[in-house]
């Protein structure tokens, strides 16, 4: 057990305050009765009520959620396949190029990703809207998925797959009955991350969206430019709640899998590696 000293207690408190104070303030102000953002007028749930009548915001939220669900799922599928290829196929021709191409979006400025996708869609004369945002977000999130799943596959005990094949399971069934259940927590974490990335993306979405597909961050940003409205605070608070619940669910799922006997846990290393990107 590590000892709790005055210093690391201080460090933890400072870190939490730094990370969460702005969010806490935002949540508190979403319950502000006053219309003026900087003036506290007592507690009220008024803005949540008004939000229910704001069709533009609700529409944007629904689009954002749908984009995030589809993009996260597609990114998890593609990213996992790429990770399997990188870890399992050993040294194939062009592996280095393939790996760097997968990792490039991690460090690529979003403006460039967005602009290049925009040029692509224009060149191919694809009408911009819901699906172009989905494609863009899938592209962006897939590389994060690959990194997470790859780090799990690298220390996956290959003899488990060999044992399954030895006992008569063909390769695909081996993957589905042995590999997949064991890497599921990593896939869940990857999906969650992709979901969150898509949900809060503003830059790429603004390049690739079209009429009728305004995502929530775009809507919020455009409204805030005309001055912060209390409804926006309420939207953001709901947003935060959704993300918190999703993250809790993912870590709970990982815990349950671990309790069922899988030695794999969501490791903080999987995610902290991403900070470099």
């Amino acid at each position: 057990m590590r000892r709790v000293t005055a210093f690391n207690l201080f460090a933890i408190v400072l870190g939490i305050v730094f990370l969460y104070l702005p969010i806490v303030i935002l949540v508190i102000y979403s319950f502000n009765a006053s219309r003026l953002v900087a003036v506290w007028g007592g507690w009220s749930t008024r803005w949540y009520g008004e939000l229910a009548g704001d069709a533009a915001i609700l529409d944007a939220a629904s689009i954002s959620l749908r984009v995030a669900l589809v993009a996260a799922s597609l990114a998890t599928l593609l990213g996992t396949l790429a990770a399997v290829a990188l870890v399992r196929f050993g040294r194939f021709r062009g592996r280095l190029l393939f790996a760097s191409m997968i990792y490039a979006p991690l460090v690529m400025p979003e403006v460039i990703t967005g602009l290049s996708l925009l040029l692509l869609f224009v060149a191919l004369a694809i009408e911009r809207g819901f699906w172009t945002v989905v494609i863009a977000h899938t592209t962006m999130a897939a590389c994060f998925v690959t990194v997470i799943v790859q780090s799990r596959l690298v220390d996956f005990d290959m003899s488990l797959e060999e044992a399954a094949m030895d006992l008569g399971a063909p390769p695909l069934r081996t993957f589905l009955t042995v590999t997949l259940p064991l890497i599921l927590p990593a896939l869940a974490a990857a999906w969650m991350l992709a979901f969150a990335l898509s949900l809060d993306d503003l830059v790429i979405a603004s390049f690739t969206t079209g009429p009728g597909a305004t995502t929530l961050p775009i809507r919020i940003y455009s409204e805030v430019r005309l001055g912060v409205k209390p409804e926006i605070n309420a939207v953001c608070s709901i947003f935060i709640a959704v993300v918190c619940i999703a993250v809790l669910a993912a870590s709970l799922a990982a815990k349950l899998t671990a309790a069922r006997g899988a030695p794999t846990r969501l490791r903080t290393g999987d995610l902290s590696r991403l900070d470099a990107g």
């Binding site: 003899s159 060999e162 094949m165 008569g168 006997g261």
Partner: protein
């Protein structure tokens, strides 16, 4: 080939049994390094075969080639006369018990054992019945619902074994199945393995680097070194008639005396122990260099002076004594400074020699193993 000291209830008389597995001049390279090097071997139906060799000699690689996880660069593997080259691992009627057991961590003991039968698409009740029988056989019926991480090392090894056996494979490959167990458990499991093999009438190939283990369990032993088979034979044959210095030294303890064959072909001259007399003439040119190997337990140690003209008697002084309880191991320094190992049972009688005492080592001519390489 004649079999020496066949075990009771073991495979039918050696030589008459059919070969189940034929390995023909098999080679597997990793880069430039040959892990298995032009290796040929026949495994007979129903036998318990041990592959014995030091760590890194290619034992696991050989098993993985047979199981289908590695592709050979040259050579063939035939099972029941069928070439396995084009058969993927999941279609080979061969099962392997992995060195680390490779139990599925997300499945219960029962589901682990049932896994192989499910792949065969058997009816549900038959699977349940066979799994229950197998769990009873390896005495794990009370652990059926547990996960592998809730088991001890010995229990895990039995799950791994049960998972293979329940498939009733033609050939079971066991990669150091006992290496991870402590000594007492290892001894017990070893006898369980032998009993199971006999009871089920299966063919076992066990890999081990422990020569004692190989001698106990196997009908035949293949001694491997650097990817090659040096000698194949019954345990007693390997121990009493090793075909090279390397085998003699690896299988048990041995004292080696280098010398030249005498003109009568019945003696070896110029060794550290002087002129040594052999029991039978050697089929080699006189004066060729060869080695006389004598096992420590075949050396008699005493303080009695040699009689006039006595042969195979060497003088030395006791350098070290290792007391093991039932036996003591003596290291005796000869006149030229070399050390010789001798083992003597502590069965009372004559007082045991003490350090720095002058002693004489004697051995019968038939205790001398003559080696030409």
């Amino acid at each position: 080939m004649h079999s020496v000291g066949a075990k009771p209830g073991s495979a039918p008389a050696a030589g008459t049994a059919r070969a189940l597995l034929c390995i023909e001049s098999l080679t597997k390279r990793f880069g430039d390094f040959a892990a298995v090097d032009r290796l040929s071997l026949d495994i007979r139906d129903g036998e318990f075969f041990a592959l014995l060799g030091p760590s890194g000699c290619g034992k696991t690689t050989l098993l993985r080639l047979v199981a289908g996880f590695e592709r050979p660069h040259a050579g063939r593997i035939l099972l029941d006369g069928v070439d396995l080259a084009a058969v993927p691992p999941h279609r080979r009627p061969v099962n392997m018990m992995f060195q680390n057991y490779a139990l599925f961590p997300h499945l219960s003991v029962e589901a682990n054992v049932a896994f192989g039968l499910k792949q065969e698409g058997l009816p549900r009740d038959e699977i349940a019945g066979r799994v229950a029988d197998m769990l009873a056989l390896v005495k794990l019926q009370h652990f059926a619902a547990r996960k592998p991480h809730q088991l001890s090392g010995g229990e895990r090894s039995r799950v791994a074994l049960a998972r293979c056996l329940v498939k009733r494979p033609r050939l079971l490959l066991l990669d150091e199945p006992l290496a991870a167990l402590d000594k007492k458990l290892r001894d017990a499991t070893r006898f369980e393995l032998m009993a199971l093999q006999r009871q089920l009438g299966l063919t076992f190939v066990i890999v081990t680097h422990d020569q004692g283990e190989a001698m106990i369990v196997a009908d035949r032993i293949g001694v491997m070194e650097s990817g090659r088979l040096l000698q194949v034979g019954a345990p007693a044959e390997i121990y009493e008639r090793p075909n090279s210095r390397w085998v003699a030294d690896f299988v048990g303890e041995v004292n080696l005396f280098a010398g030249r064959l005498g003109d009568d072909r019945l003696s070896v001259e110029g060794t550290a122990a002087g002129r040594l007399r052999l029991a039978a003439p050697v089929a080699a040119e006189p004066r060729t260099t060869l080695w006389v190997a004598v096992r420590p337990e075949r050396l008699r140690l005493s303080g009695d002076q040699p009689a006039a003209g006595e042969e195979n008697c060497v003088a030395g002084t006791v350098a070290e004594i290792g007391y093991l309880g039932d036996v003591s191991v003596y290291r005796v320094r000869l006149a030229d400074g070399s050390l010789v190992k001798a083992a003597a049972a502590n069965s009372g009688g004559a007082p045991a020699p003490r350090p720095d005492e002058p002693v004489y080592l004697r051995f019968a001519p038939d205790a001398a193993i003559v080696l030409t390489r």
